[in-house]
């Protein structure tokens, strides 16, 4: 089949571009540790506060340098609203909702999850820089939605 030279160049560029974009995705997952929220099990919404670990929301050190933040999202607050960890810690958020669907986004990080009642959402992230990171609910959840936020305080 005879293909015009310009057309060949164009096809080549297009395919290269597509391949490049795909590689970039793989790289971002493997090298930069992009992490997606995963469903870590189901939970009975009515009994969240009686079910471990949500009977005691808070931050726990599970292993040296590894922390787990157990968080209950509710209209319209995160419980606890402030999470303190040392710099360099790997923090796993374990979140569930006791009423409607909430969002869970930590600014300046790639932590972005939907918090669904009946479902436990887990997402991890290592905090290498000290500072304050805002947590916002970015899934519309009613009249107090704008006021639903918390923060991660990473101290050096």
């Amino acid at each position: 089949m005879q293909i015009d030279r310009l057309e060949r160049i164009f096809l080549f560029l297009t395919v290269t571009l597509l391949a490049g974009v795909l590689m970039a995705i793989v790289l971002s997952v493997v090298h930069d540790g992009a992490e997606l929220p995963t469903q870590a099990g189901r939970i009975n919404v009515a009994e969240v506060r009686d079910t471990a670990p949500f009977d005691a929301p808070g931050v726990y050190e599970t292993a040296p340098g590894k922390y787990q933040a157990v968080i209950i999202a509710k209209a319209w607050a995160f419980e606890p609203a402030e999470i303190r960890i040392p710099v360099g810690a790997e923090l796993t958020f374990v979140v569930t909702s006791i009423d409607v669907i909430h969002g869970f986004q930590v600014w300046d990080t790639n932590v972005n999850a939907m918090v669904i009642p009946g479902q436990i959402t887990e997402v991890s992230r290592t905090f290498d820089e000290a500072g304050e990171y805002n947590i916002v609910c970015h899934e519309y959840c009613g009249i107090g939605h704008h006021g639903m936020f918390g923060k991660v305080v990473v101290s050096g």
Binding site: S28, L36, P37
Partner: protein, 624 residues
Amino acid sequence: MATLTPQAPSPASTAAPGRGGIWEWITTTDHKKIGILYGFSSILFFVVGGVEALFIRLQLAVPNGEILSADAYNQMFTMHATTMVFLVVMPIASAFANYFLPLQLGARDVAFPRLNAFSYWLYLAGALFLTVSFFVGGGADGGWFGYAPLSTQVTEVVRMDYWSLGLQVLGVASIASSVNFITTVLTMRAPGMTLMRMPVFSWMVFIISFLLLFSLPMVTVGLIQVFLDRNIGTLFFDAANGGDPVLWQHLFWLFGHPEVYVLILPAMGIVSEVLPTFARKPLFGRSFVIFSGIAIGFMGFGVWAHHMFTSGLGPVAEAAFALTTMFIAVPTGVKIFNWLGTIWGGSLELNTPMLFSLGFIFLFVIGGLSGVTHSIVPADSQQHDSYYVVAHFHYVLFGGAIFGIFSGIYYWFPKVFGKLLNERIGKVNFWLMFIGMNLTFAPMHVLGLNGMPRRTYRYAEGLGLDVWNLVATIGSLVLALGIAVFLYNGWRTFRKGEVAGPDPWDARTLEWTTSSPPPEHNFDRIPVVHHEDDFWHQKYTTDEEGRAVAIPADLRPVVAEGPDEDIHLPSPSYHPALAGLGIFVMLLGLVYVPWGLIAVGVGGIGFLWGMFGWSLEPLVRGDH
């Protein structure tokens, strides 16, 4: 069916629209009048939705805005989206489809004229019903996506009942017109008008009709479940009792994503009509444009879960939907190149419809590219539910759908009303909208990447969000000014517009062969089609080097040798409107059970009366 003798055309065919009295409009079954009704209603709701948008932007202009309460703000953004999607872009596509599908196919009406009228009255019933809720306790406030369980929380407030019932009825209206358009395309084409000779706009209408037909039933099921959860205590979406909130998201987006293509494909069809006309070249790769439209239609059903990437679907599902989302960009990209190929080397005429079409391409490419970034799951997990997404879909839906629609309005207005919209005001209109649109929505990319979440009624100072929010608000005011200029242009043209002949643009398709506005029976003689762009081939031939050469008027093939003998037109009927009114009353009653059951009964009688009257009605126009 009435039989008109062409020698004595009905007075309605010569009267200008609006002179026939209200009754004539209520009882009309003429696809052109129904198209005009759709058009004016959607422009009206466009203004309503625009005002809602302005409220939102004014509230967000500065940190800690004071204009709206949180409650009012939530109503505004919910109703802005609901209005723009269901009451503006969809019906205005329906307006064009109603008016021009039969004309482009060489038919005298759609296949089911009274069903067509019923669709319009149902649309109006649903639209008024949704809007009425503002005056009886507030507009819907659960987001246009109505995520359960927020939307199913049982409270004293009935706003989401209005929302779920109103959308339900709008869905029925759309299903009815889809059936109508599909049947029209399949059975009413003029002799020689093969499917592949059909104008591209008609093709896109054909495709979206299938999309609507298959996707609306899914959201219909979901909306019934929402209504039942709210009103009789079913637990479909109640996680505390074994229901599943994610089910609603699946049902909604299974409809919601094909819906996106329902909004954009008609605009793509319009652009595919306008560009060849003003580039004076046939559409480049015409069959590719059609087939990529079909491909988009199919693939549109396989990408819905990219709205839910952060809900923990699992890596397999996420990878699969990421790939389908990337693939659907391919047929879309094909179209862009076809349009560019069409204007490449054409002798361009940069008038207002053409400007809007070029603006469409420019803005749609930006929106399309930012859309592809959503398919990259790790990137999407940064953007999800941030203003970046708002920026993306406004580029697609405002820069895309609305610019395409405005292109269509400027292009077809002379055919519908016989007068040309003013060119100079039109250009002012275009540039104001173009600048305003970019000023409003481009900053939202930055806001989103800076972390501004959607649907919050105020934001605190010092988060780095102040400047771009202010810019966006200024942009929205420029945009509003542009729309005002458009309304002025329309009003002015009705009063003293330049009279357009049957073919002011030297266009290519059959609707331009008839007078402007067309007679009630559209064509004196049903055309026989020999080519794609048949009208162009009646006017032009090509020389040895492929250049277009006009055929002198006296040498053109004689198309009509006098009008057809029997012209059958549908008789007018008030029954579709009565059935629509009945449904409106029934809906109102359903919100206020138990005493509202009286209204349900009354409305039900009206509806049944309309339906029975409609089916028992004699087909002859009587003594008319």
